[in-house]
């Protein structure tokens, strides 16, 4: 009896019934395609940001090729000026060669086995691509010659810097007093 009355009522509203059927069909379609929109939106966002990145790369890479070529030439020049660790005699001879241009006497050039704490692994200025060879140099000479010598160390082809220095003045019988100096110098070299 109750079923009949519902059917009767539905028969009274055919348009509402048709609408209900359509609404259910639409709801099913919306439900089934629910993820599609979200997926497409996220894919579009992803592609948009990729495209922005690609465009940004293109803008930033303007003249990059010529810059890289210039920089690589500089790197090649740096490589050619590095000390090679295995050429110990040549390296030491190079450090003695400064004697020729300056009025100084290099008494000793000694290769130190100790690593420089500034540039070693974990140091404040750690060298990752290259390494530093440590030499202890002792010499004597006049003040002017000594100043020219340490200046020429910095201006030489090899990359040299003075880490520690110790200068003691000694009085000569002549007019100019002489200096005795002990230097701890670092030379940039190829990594082993």
């Amino acid at each position: 009896m109750a079923g009949n009355s519902i059917v009767d009522k539905l028969k009274r509203y055919p348009l509402a019934l048709l609408s209900l059927v359509c609404w259910i069909a639409i709801a099913i379609v919306i439900f089934l395609r629910g993820d599609a929109l979200g997926n497409l939106e996220s894919k579009e966002n992803e592609l948009s940001s990729s495209l922005r990145l690609v465009e940004g790369n293109a803008v930033s890479s303007k003249d990059l090729e010529s810059q890289v070529e210039r920089l690589e030439k500089d790197v090649e020049a740096i490589e050619n000026r590095l000390f090679k660790k295995e050429r110990r005699a040549i390296n030491t001879d190079y450090l003695y060669s400064f004697e020729e241009d300056h009025d100084i006497l290099i008494r000793e050039v000694k290769l130190s086995e100790a690593e420089d704490s500034n540039h070693k692994k974990g140091g404040p200025n750690e060298l990752k691509i290259k390494s530093a060879i440590v030499y202890n140099v002792s010499l004597t000479g006049g003040y002017q010659s000594f100043m020219e010598y340490i200046y020429s160390l910095y201006k030489s082809d090899a990359f040299i810097r003075i880490a520690d220095l110790d200068i003691t003045g000694t009085k000569n019988s002549g007019t100019e007093s002489s200096l005795q100096a002990k230097l701890r110098i670092l030379v940039l070299s190829e990594k082993e």
């Binding site: 609404w23 395609r33 990059l64 290259k130 810097r161």
Partner: protein, 211 residues
């Protein structure tokens, strides 16, 4: 009989079949159900159409973007390789900078010290050394000068000169100058003395804390 009539005067049998009677309400309400149902379908349908249109538009936009990315991919790969080469080469130069990282060159320092010292002062020993602090990974520079002065005011004026020197106070560093002296050497008439300068990088953390 008359008493019964009085009790139920207006009662009549109801023989109407309600379903078959016409709707005689003054304001008809049946259409509201249809209206609501149709409205719901229309609203949901429009929503669905809108979604489908957005899906269509997004699909078109995605295929456009993919096409654009594909076109620029070759150039982008080339740019990325160039970029990698640039960074590799730049690291070489940066490492060189790191090797020479010191606030001054020794020849500048020696020249500054010898030129700025008072004439009456004599240097007997000069040393410069680097020291690495494991905590905070910093490098400090220690300068030690052993000297002789005929008068202690000369030592004091040298200390003042050093305190004013810009070379001993490079940017990002702080310098501490300490002087000391011994009793006058009666043979030479000079006071043996020493000046110690410690140049340390400013601790960024403590600098911030002070602010």
């Amino acid at each position: 009989m008359s008493k019964k009539k009085d009790l139920q005067p207006y009662w009549r049998p109801n023989v109407r079949i309600v379903e078959t009677l016409p709707d005689i309400k003054v304001v008809r309400t049946d259409f509201i159900i249809n209206f609501i149902a149709v409205s719901l379908v229309v609203i949901t349908g429009v929503y669905l159409l809108q979604r489908e249109y957005r899906v269509f538009a997004l699909s078109r936009s995605i295929s456009n973007l993919e096409q654009q990315i594909n076109v620029s991919n070759a150039d982008n790969n080339k740019n990325l390789k160039l970029n990698q080469r640039f960074f590799e080469a730049a690291n070489y130069v940066l490492e060189l900078q790191s090797f020479y990282s010191a606030p001054f060159r020794p020849y500048h320092l020696i020249a500054e010290l010898t030129q700025s010292k008072p004439e009456e002062m004599r240097f007997t020993k000069l040393s410069l050394s680097e020291s690495v602090a494991t905590k905070g990974k910093t490098v400090s520079f220690n300068i030690n000068i052993r000297c002789e002065v005929p008068d202690l005011t000369v030592l004091n004026s040298f200390k003042s000169i050093l305190a004013e020197s810009t070379l001993l106070k490079p940017e990002g560093y702080t310098a501490t100058i300490v002087e000391s002296f011994q009793a006058k050497n009666v043979q030479t008439g000079f006071f043996p003395c020493s000046v110690s300068v410690v140049i340390k990088p400013i601790d960024e953390k403590s600098k911030k804390d002070k602010k």
